[in-house]
Amino acid sequence: MTVVTDRQSQAVRRKSPPGRPRRRITREAAAAWILVLPFVVLFLAFTAGPVLGSFGMSFTDIKQRDLRTPFSVNGVGFDNYVKALSDETFRKAAFNTAYFVIVGVPLTLVVALGAAVLLDRGIKRFQALFKVGYYLPVVTSIVAIAVIWRFVLSPDNGLLNTALGWVGIDGPNWLASKTWAMPSLIAMAVWRNFGSAMIIFLAGLQGIPESVEEAGQIDGAGPWQRFRYLILPLLRLTILFNCVTIGIGYLQFFEEPFVMTKGGPLDSTLSVSMYTYNQFGFGNYGLATSMAYILFVVIAVVTFIQFRLLREK
């Protein structure tokens, strides 16, 4: 009985005269705003505000001594940007970051895709064990990983050089070498990050119906041809997603040089993020924010280009 009366009252309410606002909609919107409010407040205070603040600061000469009076600083136009872009060290950091991204992202993708194919096509038994194992480094702190890898890469009694010694190779002092320090950081980044891309590739591969491969088999395509011309094109969106997320992460690499090399030797592993952090440490807040904004613009542009290149063909 009560249910019936409830329904009746609901029906009556719905037929309220057209002059009044429909109450259910307003209540819905009111509830929505209550639910959205905490996010909006926190978002304005800790994301939107700082993004705009950062933009504003990048056109001022704000320094550490202005910390308590951030509005009493002078505008300097594009001076910080000019200073950053004409700074040899910043250019070196930009080059290093590009190096890290251009080598690191494809390498991570290849290893991740290789592991995903291995698990999807080859390893049926214990698949979950392999999957979890490969994913382990992703959940661990980069700082801790970097500390461990410093020992793995240490010249005389590190794990890597000892293993290389077994096959007769005399490994270099990886992190102290201008040539090898950056490849070492890249290797570590690939080791730590391929697991997350692998999981996404695996889901992508499992979404491809077996009939696709069977059709290729009937047409006489070999395994490599089937992979190259049938599977890979179907994975385009998955590749795009991985490429974008890994790219955004790698463009900001910071902890690796901070812990492992302090940016050395001779700035050969200094990243844009780390140099920005150093400028912040020196108290040059205006300069630091302009560098961060340059990085931001680069990230946005690179992401946009990736979408254009990989989305439509």
Binding site: I25, V143, F151
Partner: protein, 270 residues
């Protein structure tokens, strides 16, 4: 079929490459400083010792850092579970002005590097008197665009009929959210909870600038400063420190790994 053995060989070699540094770390943390410097290195500790852990927990104040990391991660996780599910539900199921704009804004912020916000954030938090405090460590991370995205995707998959039924029964809009819909998102909440906890536990840049005295350090900050400061040569201490940072999250991940990988699939492929 006869080709499977070398596929497994590659797979196992991959596992060895992934696991070796972790094993090296754990075994190394039980070695003496002298043994750690030996050439060639030893794999198993000659004379296993707990002196590195003793030093870590007595002289180096790691219990305090552990507590700080745990407190911050728990608070951040609680905030994300509450606020991201609230807005996620509104974005997925409720009609209101500005809904699409809000969603676009959330997605756009996924791309903003932490470097861009941290200088003004530092100025803001310092002027609010929150530098070197727990609120200063926690507040900026109470919501995350990733969490909003995850919860919205999950709510989208729930049927509207449940909401209509709630309305017919006269349940208030907030009641429908809290009592009918939210309990159904338990799997998504588990995923978000784990991922947020892990992210907060491993977070580095912000605690590095905002925790200015030792009693507010989180584990990664303490480990990074030890490894670049005067303890840079104290290998045993650093290995043990890395174990304390890494092992709890590894255990947690292994216990809840299904939620983690599913979450990646939800957000990555939709």
């Amino acid at each position: 079929m006869r080709r499977t053995w070398w596929i497994y060989l590659i797979g196992v070699l991959g596992l060895v490459a992934v696991a070796a540094p972790f094993l090296w770390m754990v075994l190394g943390s039980f070695k003496t400083q002298g043994e750690l410097l030996r050439v060639p290195p030893t794999w198993w500790p000659d004379q296993p010792t707990s002196q590195n852990y003793d030093e870590l927990f007595s002289k180096a104040n790691f219990p305090r850092y552990f507590l700080n990391s745990t407190l911050v991660a728990l608070a951040v996780t609680a905030g994300n579970l509450t606020f991201c599910s609230m807005i996620g539900y509104a974005l997925a199921k409720l009609r209101f002005k500005g809904r699409n704009a809000l969603f676009v804004l959330v997605v756009a912020t996924l791309m903003i590097p932490g470097m861009v916000t941290f200088v003004p954030l530092f100025v803001l938090v310092t002027n609010a008197g929150l530098a070197n405090s727990y609120p200063g460590l926690i507040l900026p991370f109470l919501v995350s665009p990733f969490g909003v995205f995850l919860m919205r995707q999950f709510f989208l998959g729930l049927p509207d009929d449940l909401i209509d039924a709630g309305r017919v029964d006269g349940t208030s809009e907030l009641g429908i959210f809290a009592r009918i819909m939210l309990p159904l998102t338990r799997p998504a909440l588990a995923t978000l909870g784990i991922l947020t906890f892990l992210g907060s536990w491993n977070n580095f840049l912000w605690p590095l600038v905002i925790a200015q005295t030792e009693d507010k350090y989180t584990l990664p900050v303490a480990l990074a400063l030890y490894s670049t400061g005067q303890n840079a040569q104290n290998y045993g201490l650093l290995m043990a420190g890395a174990v304390v940072v890494v092992v709890p999250v590894l255990v947690m991940f292994l216990a809840f790994q299904r939620h983690v990988t599913r979450g990646i699939a939800i957000t990555g492929l939709k």
